[in-house]
């Protein structure tokens, strides 16, 4: 008989514990959602819900893209340009013989490839991620501008209607993405991302292929950001080479809001997604309350500081008791 106290289903027990540690965040999200529903009952209708998730979906994707790297101990400033590039590629390929499937493939492959290249530079050449993605953001923006100097291109109407119409397709897509992420996290590479972020030397000594893990993290990040761009193009009906610009900041803000730390290994993807939901709610609230779009920035600044400072102050206060 084993002396070890052992749960019956290990995987489930681990997930439950991770959820328990996020209890506070879940409560805050729930509170905000309830508040939102009270103020704007429109969200409870199918149409309103669809619209909300359509605004949330690209933000959720870029937040995941950013969180992937922050969990691995890095950061990327190339999210915005990748979104733009995804939008541009979608808008320029879907009108051609490649059609929608071809366009989708082009966007996905580009995102993966660019991400992988950045990953190789950071992992094998040991250049700091912040500067490499900074330089990369210029290059990617340049490519987007060359492909489509001005907003234009073509997105088939039926695609726009499906993804960004009155049906909650966006929400279903998000669920699919989350399921795929959970599956990935249950692979050695997936856990390796956390391990290499929290204790890179320890992970290396444990036999985790830390360079390969980093490259995979960057590649997946690129994929998610590019796909977010595809969705944004479907939303607007055309491609715009600079449409992704605000997403860089938003992805960082949402990730931080969700408890993802900058030193690597701290935080969870589910936390990051909660963060993106919160940010989405806040942006919507401000919009509906009639704030000018720039007020969003003022609020975001305050929110970010608050999101980080409040838990820290609470911890300090608790330590003094």
């Amino acid at each position: 008989m084993s002396a070890v106290s052992s749960p019956n289903w290990l995987y489930g027990a681990i997930q439950r514990r991770r959820n328990r540690s996020l209890g506070g965040l879940y409560l805050v999200v729930a509170a905000f959602l309830i508040l939102y529903a009270v103020l704007f009952p429109g969200i409870l209708s199918v149409g309103g819900f669809s619209k909300f998730t359509q605004n949330w979906f690209p933000l959720a994707l870029v937040t995941m893209a950013q969180a992937l790297l922050m969990l691995n101990g890095g950061i990327t400033l190339a999210i915005g340009p990748l979104v733009s590039l995804g939008a541009v590629i979608a808008a320029t390929t879907m009108g051609t013989a490649l059609g929608v499937p071809g366009g989708f493939l082009a966007v996905a492959v580009t995102g993966l490839a660019i991400g992988a290249v950045i990953g190789v530079i950071v992992a094998h050449l040991r250049l700091p991620a912040i500067i490499v993605t900074l330089a990369g953001s210029f290059i990617i923006t340049g490519v987007a501008l060359i492909l489509l100097p001005r907003p234009g291109g073509f997105i088939p109407g039926w695609l726009s209607n499906t993804l960004a119409g009155h049906t909650p397709v966006a929400f279903l897509l998000l669920v699919v993405v989350l399921v795929l992420w959970k599956a990935f996290l249950a692979t050695p590479l997936g856990l390796g991302i956390y391990a290499a972020g929290d204790n890179p030397v320890g992970a290396f000594r444990s036999g985790v292929p830390v360079e390969r893990v980093k490259i995979v993290a960057f590649a997946l990040s690129g994929l998610l950001a590019a796909l977010a761009g595809l969705f944004v193009a479907a939303q607007t009906g055309s491609g715009d080479p600079i449409i992704g610009a605000p997403f860089t900041l938003n992805s960082i803000a949402a990730a931080v809001l969700g408890g993802v730390g900058f030193l690597g290994g701290k935080g969870t993807m589910r936390g990051a997604i909660c963060g993106s939901l919160l940010l989405s709610v806040m942006i919507n609230v401000m919009f509906f309350l009639g704030f000018p779009p720039v007020a969003q920035y003022v609020a975001q600044g305050l929110i970010i500081v608050g999101a980080v400072a409040v838990p820290e102050l609470l911890a300090q206060w608790r330590a003094r008791r």
Binding site: F138, L249, F262, Y297, I303, Q316
Partner: protein, 313 residues
């Protein structure tokens, strides 16, 4: 061969040599590049980056980063014409006021980092976001023209043929180099950057140094904003944006580690000149905005490969 090896081990020197090389080649191949007026103009542009990067260098040495540099420059450039009192003929009061505000913003960044324990990258990012929103609300979308005499002097005068901005940069360089290498506070910044916990247990006050550090960064960003205003003769929303990324790039190109604890301002100086030269070269080629962006990014990457390698694991 040994000389070459010791050159590679000294990043600031390496960057200087790189700048000299690029200038030499460009002067020989591009007509007009090597003209005194043109080189002087490049130095003027570099002065703004160099001054903004002075604060950024200090911050990065201490292991942080200041993402609010661009926003502070914009705030300074826009506020100065607005709040310069009309009763002051010299314009110095306006400069003093605006520098106080810039330093105050920096101080707030430091307070957030020190007391609220917000990581500097987030604190300064939030501050930048906050300021950008505030600026649009306060100043609308229009540009403000400067009439402050001291500022115009700074931006346009050429005592003895040397632009006043470059002279200012020289003064700032002297101050920052002394601060890093000849004052205790410099050694403390480096210790905190390399190992904050050990520094704290050795009696170095993280709180006090953080406040001073970010206040200094705000001050230098404000100074850069004043210079930019003088050179452009007007301030507008977004005028400071390019300087954020270029200030970081100048520091890293100069051989300072982005992780902190190692480096010097002596490398940032040629780093700033290198960046300005790069931009100028790209403009000469007269490419479309897309190609220009690609070239800029590629060149930063290439320069990074040469002079910005991090230490082995």
């Amino acid at each position: 061969m040994n000389a070459a090896r010791s050159l590679f081990r000294n990043p600031p020197l390496l960057t200087f040599v790189l700048v000299a090389l690029v200038w030499l080649i460009a002067s020989l191949t591009l007509r007009g590049f090597g003209a005194y007026g043109h080189l002087r103009y490049l130095l003027e542009l570099a002065a703004v980056i160099g001054i903004a990067a002075a604060g950024q260098t200090l911050v990065i040495l201490m292991g942080g980063i200041d993402l609010s540099v661009g926003a502070v420059i914009t705030v300074t450039a826009i506020l100065l014409p607005i709040i310069s009192p009309a009763w002051d003929p010299t314009g110095l009061v306006g400069i003093a006021l605006v520098l106080t505000i810039a330093t105050g913003i920096g101080f707030l960044n430091g307070a957030g980092a020190a007391y609220l324990r917000v990581p500097p990258i987030i604190m300064t990012l939030a501050m930048a976001t906050f300021l950008q929103g505030l600026l649009v609300i306060v100043a609308g979308g229009s540009a403000v023209t400067v009439s402050n005499p001291a500022v115009i002097l700074l931006g346009q005068a050429r005592p003895l043929g040397v632009p006043a901005g470059v002279l200012l940069w020289l003064a700032v360089s002297a101050v920052v180099l002394i601060l890093i290498h000849r004052m205790p506070i410099g050694a403390r910044f480096l210790a905190i950057g390399a190992n904050p916990l050990a520094a704290r247990l050795s009696g170095v006050s993280i709180t006090r140094n953080t406040l001073v550090l970010y206040a200094l960064s705000g001050f230098f960003a404000g100074l850069a904003g004043i210079l930019v205003l003088g050179m452009n003769r007007q301030g507008y929303v977004g005028i400071g944006d390019p300087y954020l990324l270029t200030s970081i790039a100048a520091v890293v190109l100069g051989g300072t580690s982005i992780l902190g604890g190692r480096g010097t301002y002596a490398g940032t100086i040629p780093g700033a000149i290198l960046l300005v030269t790069t931009t100028a070269l790209i403009t000469v080629v007269n490419a479309s905005p897309g190609w220009r962006s690609i070239m800029f990014g590629t060149l930063i990457l290439a320069l990074l490969l040469i002079s910005g390698r991090e230490a082995r694991r």
